[in-house]
Each structure stands twice: as C-alpha cells, then as structure tokens.
Amino acid sequence: MTATVTTPGPRRARVLRKKAVLGKKAVLPWLFLAPGLLLALVFKFLPMGKGVWLSFFDVRPFLGDQWVGLDNYTRVLTDHRFQDAIGHTLVLGIGMSLGGIVAGFLLALLLEGQARSLKIIRTAVFLPVVTATAVVGEMWRLMYYPTSDGLINSGLGLLGLGPVPYLDNPDTALWATMAMGIWMLAPYNMVIILAGLAGVDRSLYEAAAMDGVSLWQRLRHITLPAIRPALGIVLTLAAIRGLRVFTEVYVLTGGGPAGSTDVWMTRAYTLGFSRNDIGGASAASVLLLCVTLLLTVTVNYFRKRGDVR
C-alpha cells in the first residue's frame, strides 16, 4: 500500500495496482498456511466429519450403511452402562484435573528457583509427562499389585498394613486410577505454573515480608492473583483433556472390575471394536466432542470475564 502513495500516477492504474497488491497480500498467508491446513483437513477434519456422519448410520461397510437417524444416540444415552460410565468419567475427570492442579501448584512452589539441584529434580519430576501412557499404566499396575510383591503393598507391609487390592476392588479401583492420573498430570501443570511464578513481582514479596504477613496470606493475596493467567491455561487444558481419559483406564483396569472404572471412551471403544457397533461408537464420540466443546467454551468465558474484572 505504501507503493501507491510514493508513486502517483493515473487513478485507474493506481486502483489496479492496489488490488493486485491486496490480492497478493491476502493469498500469501493462506499459501503459507496451506500445508498445515491440508494436513489438518485430511487427518483431522475429514475423519471428524466422517465420524459425525457415521453416527447416524448402522455401519456395515460391505453391505451398505443404513440410515438410522438418531437411533444410535438414544441407544447410547439410554444404556445404563453408558450412564454409569459418564458418571465415572466426571468423577475421574474432575478429580484428576483438580488433583493435578493442586499437586502441580504445590510442586511448583517447592521447586521454584535457579539452583542446579532444583533443575535436576524438576527434570525428574517432569518424566511422567514424556513417558508413554501405556508404559506408565503397566508400571502402576505392577506397583498396585495386590500382594506383598507389589511395590506399594510391600511399603504398606513394612508399616504392618495388609495388602490392599487397589485395582481389584470396585470401591477403590476408580480412586487408584485417579491417583495415577494426577501423578501424570501434575508435572505438566507444574511447568505452566512455574512460568507464572517467574513473573511474580519480587518486590511484592519483600513488601509483604516487611508487613509480616503469614504464609497463607502471601499465597492468597500475592501468589494466586499473580498466576491467574497460568491457572486459566491449566484449567482450559484440564477441561479439554479431563473427559477424554482412555489409555490410563484401558491399560490399568480395562474398565473393570465390574465396570467400576468404565469411562466414556473405554465404553465407546468396547462398542466399536468388541461389539462391531461403529455407529454407536461414533455417536458416543460425537457426544463427547459436544460436551468437551461446551465445557471448554464455558471455562474460557469465565476466564475472560475474570481477566476483564
């Protein structure tokens, strides 16, 4: 556009040139975005669209799919095992998210600083995040082993407490799964909160120290308000990730015992691949997508409102 100002000429030519430059400017970013968009289209949006489409069919790839309207949705929503699974998902999602945030916050407070030893510990604490969930699950399964051979139970044995069947008791299995989830989530949250903590104005701490405030007051009135943006990000991520828990449960308990750890996605997986009901599984997944979307938008709304205030 600056070119049009520096080189005056006939009005018509100027308009044409302006158009060409504008066109180029409009196209260029899209050109740069194209590879990424194309990949997203082929590997994300088309399969997603296909999933939505399939959720209205009785899927029989070789005989021709049959349109069943909303049948898959009503079937999924009225299935009592699915309703149970939704309950477990909510408990697990909320528990893991909040637990992960609290644990991450505590870890961040403990491990904030520049010392070399802290860096090493931070790296060690972060390891669960970079380990494949399937591997973590298998490790915890062995740690939870319900006899004195299991790591946790051998520790309890030293205290004179009997072996606890963490995963094989329907009353404890969900909580045991949650503990593992928190162990995996907390370090990731820790890193985000650490970044937030680094931005806290040190002079505020000094002023507070001079005023003689308690530790709790310092946390409540200085630290927490200062890291609110970081907490917002952590909360948004939790809302997105909380409900789609799958691998942890699949590896640890497979949804058992007696379906006590069955969650939304393990139920959908069972529908799709154990019962060959692809339509039902698609409907379940679409429902999860909608709920997750709604949850994310809600969390974002409250975050923005909080920021404005």
Binding site: E138, M143, L151, P165, L167, T253, S260, N276
Partner: protein, 449 residues
C-alpha cells in the same frame, strides 16, 4: 485372539515384578514390531494372492515358510501381511471395498464377518482334499444361511496345566473333578509348594477381566462342564440360556469357591487380568492354569518340560467338556481369484501344509491339525499334544459359529465379571438380566426365537 495374546505375552514375560521399568519400555518396541504394514494390495496381478493372518512376528515366520512352499509348488505368489490389530485394519480395508483375498483368523469371528458381508461362501467340494477334514470341523464353518463361509485350518481345546513337581511334593493326585481341583488349589496356596517358607503361591490362574470378553472365554469351559449353554439353538434361530438352573448352580459355584472363596485359590489380580498380564503360572507362583495349548512352548521355555503336566480338564456336574476354538481360512468377498484361493486352501489343509505349520523353529500356527490323517502328538513327537487332540475330538464345544458372537461374548463377560466382583451379589437376578441382554443381542441379529 490367541496370536495377539501371545505377542503381548512375549513382550510382558518377565521374571521379577519389580523389573517393571525394563519390561514396560520393551513394550514400546514390541508394539512397533507387532504392528503391521498397511495393506498394499497387488490386486491387479491375478497370480498373486494377498493373504492376511493375525500373527506376531514369530508366528509370521512359520507362515512365511508355509507360503514359500506353496509358491514353489504352484507358482502362485503370496503377498503376505501379518496383521496384529486385524479387525481395525480389516474395517478400514472394508470401507474401501477392497478386501484381502485370503484371511486366516479366529473361528469365533465368522458370524461377525458373514453378517457384515465380508466373506465369500465356500463349497467344500471345490477344495481338493476336503474329505480329510472331519464332519465336526466342517460343521463349525456353517453360516446362518446354511452355507459354509470358512475352511477349518487349525483347532485347539483347553486343557489343564498343573505344576507336577508341586503336586507330587504335596502328595496329591491329579485332579479329576472340580472338588479335586479346588482341594489342590487350596493346597498350592497354603502348603508352600515351592518351599521358600513364604505364602506366596496361588492355586490357579484366572484371566477374569471383562476386557475383550476374556472372562467369558476362560469361563466357557466351566459353564460347559456345569451343563450350561450361553445360547441354545432353536429351529432356525437361537434363544438365550443363561437363566437356567444349571447356569445359576455353576456361576454360584464359581463365585463362591474361586472368586469369593479362600484367599489364594486364584491369583489376587484375577478380576482385572487378561491373558497377557496373567503370567503367574510361567513366573512360577501359581500351580494350575486352564488354557489353550499355544502356551506349551512358552511354558517349556519358562518352566521346563519336566515341571508341569498337561491334563484333561477336571469334570464338573455335567462332564468335562472344554471350549474349543481355532482358526479358519476365509475368502474375502468380491476378490475374483477363486481358483488361486482354492489352491491355497487345499495346500494349507493338506498333510504337507499342516505339517509345515506345526513344526519348525518358530511358533507353530497349526495346533491340532484339521487334517484327520495327521496326529498332533506324532507330528511333533510330543505325547502331551495327544491330550489336547483328545480333548478337542471327544470333549469340546465351540461357541456357536453362526451368530455374530462378539456382542454375546462381551455381554456375558461384563455380567460374569460383575457377579464375581461383588461377593454379595444376587446371582439369580444378575443372570436374569444377562439373559435379557442376550435376548436383545440376538434380536438385533434377527436370530431370537
């Protein structure tokens, strides 16, 4: 199912529980190794057959040897794909309407595949050597419309693996009945058969998770022995049969004595165990395992031939029938290479093809030969296989092959796992509910009578 289990078995086989980290990081590599390439169909070449089997790399070596012999004999080339996540891959190929020409997979999947229209019907007479397969084996490939949809390839039946050294040390006889088995299991759990002074052994190994229907797969033999059928044929359809008095008696017995009985009769993690992480028998801390003969080579390596014995399953109130299953050869629908496919099937069921698949350095892919001129124990030079062959021929029941069995197995497993988990549960009400669910499954398939 078995090959997938074995693949995971291999990955997870381990001596010490606390060496978890090593074993599990190995899992990652194992997963990669057991995965498969994408199906590159050379559909254009009429002289090449694309063949899929559900196999881990070790079994795939045996298949490769078999197919090489076939190519040498007939000149027909084989584009061989060992596939671990068979059904997911098959679904994606089905959506492109281009199936592999020949597939070798579980017998219990036939109803499901036929229901989806994935299979070509087979005329037994069109397969050279079809007379060498017994009528019992052929009858297991009849679909809903009375036509055959598969060719029997390998069969197996469950047998009881028992730690012989432990049993002899405690001076107890081979178990012949459920009561014997229970008494032996209790002795293994309480009388320190491994002599280390600790109570760290268990009577019996149970893969009791509902995941992929395992508890129904393992429990089927017990149900058969109690005189229970999950569904019963009636006219042209089926009706659910899990509300019978026999079912109530059998499931109650299993719950009270195995899952809610004395500590240690079964391994403590039974309710969430699938076969892949049920390694107590080969780890040397459990004394019995009712399972398939594909484990023989694993146990030989882990425990040694002399330490354990292969016995017919102990009898329940209604006999000692066990679950039989195996693999069939399936022809993909609309592939148009009938002659070549028939030639391959004829070779695979011939004495030569079956013997090749039962022997060699790698995991054998034929357990009990379907070719009646062969004897598993003689071909292998191992008398233990005659126990398995006899169990298959005389005392075994397959899952019904015509219905889509997947939902029925899954629902049965969900229900049994729940009943066994809650020791105070009302078995009668639980089985009634299961029966209604099974009726729904059959109704969905238009098979309910």
């Amino acid at each position: 199912m078995r090959d997938r289990r074995r693949c995971i078995d291999m990955r997870l086989r381990r001596g010490r529980r606390l060496a978890a980290a090593l074993a599990t990081s190995g899992l990652l590599f194992g997963t990669a190794a057991c995965g498969s390439g994408s199906g590159s169909a050379r559909a254009g070449d009429p002289n090449t057959l694309e063949v899929w089997t559900r196999s881990d790399p070790d079994s795939a070596q045996t298949y490769k040897r078999v197919f090489a012999a076939f190519t040498e004999k007939t000149g027909i080339k084989i584009d061989y794909q060992p596939v671990m996540n068979f059904d997911q891959q098959l679904q994606s190929r089905a959506s492109t309407k281009d199936l592999p020409d020949v597939m070798i997979n579980d017998t219990a999947l036939m109803g499901s595949y036929q229901g989806q229209g994935l299979l070509k019907p087979v005329t037994p007479a069109s397969i050279a050597g079809h007379g060498e397969i017994t009528a019992k084996s052929w009858s297991s490939t009849v679909g809903r419309d009375g036509r055959h949809y598969g060719i029997p390839y390998s069969r197996q039946a469950m047998t009881l693996f028992v730690r012989k050294d432990w049993r002899e040390k405690l001076g107890l006889p081979q178990p012949k009945t459920w009561q014997d088995t229970l008494a032996l299991a209790k002795a293994f759990a309480t009388r320190d058969p491994d002599g280390d002074g600790k109570r760290d052994t268990y009577g019996m190994v149970v893969p009791g998770s509902a995941q992929n229907g395992y508890v129904a797969w393992w429990g089927a033999s017990w149900l058969w022995q109690g005189g229970v059928r999950i569904v019963e044929k009636e006219g042209t359809g089926y009706r659910p049969a899990m509300d019978s008095a026999a079912a109530l008696r059998t499931v109650t017995w299993m719950k009270d004595n195995l899952f809610c009985g004395d500590n240690g009769v079964i391994q403590p993690s039974a309710l969430t165990s699938v076969t892949a992480n049920t390694t107590n028998f080969q780890d040397g801390n459990a004394g019995m395992y009712l399972t398939g003969p594909y484990n023989i080579s694993t146990f030989d390596k882990a425990l040694g031939k002399a330490t354990y014995e292969v016995l017919p399953a102990p009898a329940g109130p209604a006999g000692n029938d066990v679950l039989a299953d195996g693999e069939n050869i399936y022809f993909g629908a609309r592939t148009g290479k009938a002659k070549q496919e028939q030639a391959l099937a004829a070779f695979l069921i011939s004495p030569e093809g079956q013997t090749l698949a039962m022997t060699g350095d790698h995991q054998p892919v034929v357990r009990i030969p379907v070719n009646s001129t062969l004897d598993a124990a003689k071909v292998r030079g191992d008398a233990r296989w005659s126990v398995v062959q006899k169990a298959y021929e005389d005392d075994s029941q397959q899952f019904p092959n015509a219905p889509d069995w997947a939902p029925i197995k899954q629902d049965t497993a969900d229900s049994l796992n729940a009943l066994f988990t809650y020791c105070g549960s009302d078995v009668k009400a639980g089985l009634k509910e299961l029966n209604d669910t099974l009726a729904g499954d059959l109704k969905d398939q238009d098979l309910l009578k």
